[in-house]
């Protein structure tokens, strides 16, 4: 057996607490992120069994999924949502867990605040009761979403019994062209391998185009791993990673920092190591993408058309027909001819400062189409403050975008930010499932630049031809 190991295998082996015969290995969890939606039943379970939280210091909570993005202090009119938030507050108090609450200057989407507080670090195992936990893999950590029973398991034991996933490498050769970003790379990959193309696997993204991504870009890419069915997505830590983590609030300091960095530098996959599955992507072939259907694998180049149904195999034809019917689209329609009603710039996929800078660059000096209602929802209060310091909020507001408070917002429409039936939205979020952004709503996934351009044009338009002002 080869002694060479992948990044994933190094982290996995470093976290094995026990390997009981005939059972799943028991893995130690370094960081457990908690939010209001998937945790209340887990805390109830602890209480019922008389258990405590084993490591409150490794458990961090925030409210993000169902909170309004109106100015803070506006009363929450949804009483069931308010009750869920109150449950998290009292659970955190009872079990001694740090909570970044509604009024905290560091509140935000759980996958935005973890990295920006330095909680997310290379080499860690990170879990959260949310499928987009894969985001944190951008730092070279093993991060994956879990259900509420496993949330309870981690709270009680700081461990998880896990079957060993398979390894997969996605090697992105060459460079991304101007106007083509991490979101397009993610959509291009899912379009190629499908929404179950990585099921049972942990993806390591590698290659020149991935190395060239900022931490924000890597987070966007890893975030969407779950949309390809992956257990997790990862990027090996490098100087970009180390520079990002340094000085963050919870990051190691002084001698601990030096030790940590030395450890991180040994994490990348060994040269010549074997992966169980390898996919190669030519970055030069990628372009700005727009989804046309009801899952993230249904993508087309912005210069392309809605697919024809004729000639498809029966299973594909059936799902394509259902998707087009739901989306209210004719086969063969040009993507650039699809008009939109709403724009959402936000979510754990694309709400970080770099995303907002990219969108603001497009919006600057333009006006949102009179037919379109567009909103920008920063991923966290920290992102919001940074954007305001740079004056990005003015650019957005001058162009006619709404500038709102941080949260998950219209990515999943658990708060009042939802689409009305039949409304069509250009969204920087991660899922275009039926009803995801509101019952009957039609979601097209795009990059932040493409979303901003669509808001102004009133329809999808190729960002590569944009007149920046």
């Amino acid at each position: 057996m080869s002694l060479k190991k992948t990044l994933f295998e190094k982290i996995w082996h470093d976290h094995l607490v026990a390997q009981p015969a005939g059972r799943s290995p028991i893995l130690y969890i370094d960081l457990h992120l908690v939010h209001e939606v998937t945790s209340p039943q887990a805390f109830d379970g602890l209480r019922a069994a008389g258990r405590k939280v084993r490591q409150p210091a490794r458990t961090v909570a925030t409210v993000d999924h169902n909170i309004p993005t109106e100015p803070r202090g506006t009363p929450i009119t949804d009483l069931i949502a308010a009750k869920q938030i109150a449950a998290l507050q009292s659970n955190c108090k009872e079990f001694g867990i740090r909570l970044f609450d509604m009024d905290s200057p560091e509140q935000g989407i759980v996958h935005v605040i973890g990295p920006e507080l330095g909680l997310t670090q290379p080499g860690m195992t990170i879990v959260c009761g949310d499928s987009h936990t894969s985001t944190h893999g951008a730092f070279g950590s093993l991060a994956f979403g879990i259900g509420t029973s496993e949330v309870e398991h981690v709270l009680a034991t700081q461990c998880l019994a896990q079957q060993t996933p398979k390894t997969m490498k996605i090697d992105v050769r060459g460079r991304l062209a101007e106007g083509v970003g991490a979101k397009d790379l993610a959509l291009g990959i899912i379009g190629q391998i499908g929404t179950d193309g990585a099921t049972g696997h942990v993806i390591e993204y590698a290659g020149q185009a991935v190395r060239g991504l900022s931490m924000e870009g890597r987070m966007t890419l890893c975030n969407m791993s779950i949309e390809a069915g992956a257990r997790a997505g990862m990027v090996a830590p490098d100087e970009t990673t180390i520079a990002y983590v340094k000085g963050k609030r919870f990051a190691p300091k002084d001698a601990e920092w030096e030790k940590a960095v030395a450890y991180w530098r040994n994490l990348p996959s060994d040269e010549g190591v074997t992966f169980e599955k390898v996919v190669e992507i030519d970055a030069a072939q990628l372009c700005p993408f727009v989804t046309w259907g009801t899952n993230p694998g249904m993508v087309a180049p912005v210069t392309g058309r809605v697919p024809e149904v004729k000639g498809l195999q029966e299973a594909d034809r059936h799902s394509t027909e259902l998707a087009l019917q739901y989306m209210g689209l004719e086969p063969g329609k040009k993507i650039e001819d699809i008009g939109i009603d709403r724009v959402f710039i936000g979510s754990c996929t694309n709400s970080r400062i770099e995303d907002l800078r990219a969108a603001a660059r497009v919006a600057k000096g333009h006006r949102v189409s009179s037919k379109v209602r567009a909103m920008v929802v920063p991923g966290s209060q920290t992102v919001k403050r940074a954007a305001e310091q740079e004056g990005l909020h003015r650019i957005f507001q001058d162009a006619g975008f709404e500038w709102r408070e941080s949260g998950c917002s219209m990515c999943l429409g658990m708060n009042p930010d939802i689409l009305q039936p039949g409304e069509r939205c250009a969204s920087t979020s991660n899922r275009n499932f039926e009803g995801r952004q509101g019952r009957g709503g039609r979601t097209h996934l795009v990059s932040p630049m493409m979303a901003a351009a669509a808001a102004i044009a009133g329809h999808f338009t190729d960002i590569r031809n944009w007149k920046f002002q």
Binding site: V17, A18, V37, A81, S149, H153, D196, T199, H318, R436
Partner: protein, 203 residues
């Protein structure tokens, strides 16, 4: 956890691929802080119109599939969100198992924690069951976890793969938190061994 050993029940066919957890239990119902009562919201946007009235043509509401306890569906069932509410809703509605040729990882994991079975058969086998559930009145199958087998009263008989340990837990209804806590000494030893690395330094 409720043990799963052998279950015989009526099969309902849901002939769609990539059924995501947003469809199984739409987000407006995730604000409840209980584990119970989600069955009434199962496939809500497919089962009910915007006015709250039932869509008579949704398969689960056809009289012949009333009381079905086994769902057979297309590939990649349970993709998307990690919400365990999806499994709670299926179980609360009266299902004990879903049969498909593939499942999303988190959904499959969540199933095992609730005494609910995600049974993986081949594409051909799933297609056969789907057809029979549509063609045969009151079509029933037996899911036998002891033998890791699905069979009907005619000639259908297929083995399904399942991890030995997960099977053991399901057969006996074991609480896996309790099982992990049997390793308390090893967890404590691990924590003592790794004090510095991956530390979260309080500011």
């Amino acid at each position: 956890m409720k043990p799963f050993t052998v279950h015989r029940g009526r099969v309902a066919p849901l002939n769609r691929v990539n059924v995501d957890t947003d469809q199984i239990i739409p987000k407006q119902f995730l604000k409840r802080i209980e584990k119970t009562g989600f069955g009434q919201f199962l496939f809500y946007d497919w089962r009910f119109g915007a006015d709250g009235k039932k869509n008579a043509d949704f398969v689960l509401d056809e009289p012949r599939y009333e009381d079905a306890s086994i769902l057979v569906a297309g590939k990649n069932f349970g993709c998307g969100s990690s919400r365990e509410h999806a499994v709670w809703a299926l179980a609360d509605f009266g299902f004990r198992a879903v049969i498909s040729c593939s499942f999303a990882d988190i959904f499959a994991n969540n199933s095992t924690k609730n005494g609910f079975l995600a049974v993986r058969l081949s594409q051909d086998e799933v297609a056969q069951l789907m057809q029979r559930a549509q063609d045969i009145d009151n079509y029933q199958v037996t899911i036998d976890l002891e033998k890791s087998e699905v069979r009907d009263d005619e000639d259908f008989r297929a083995k399904f793969p399942i991890d030995d340990f997960i099977r053991h837990c399901l057969l006996n209804g074991l609480d896996d938190i309790g099982l992990t806590l049997q390793h308390e000494a090893e967890i404590a030893a691990y924590e003592a061994r790794h004090p510095a690395l991956r530390a979260l330094q309080a500011p």
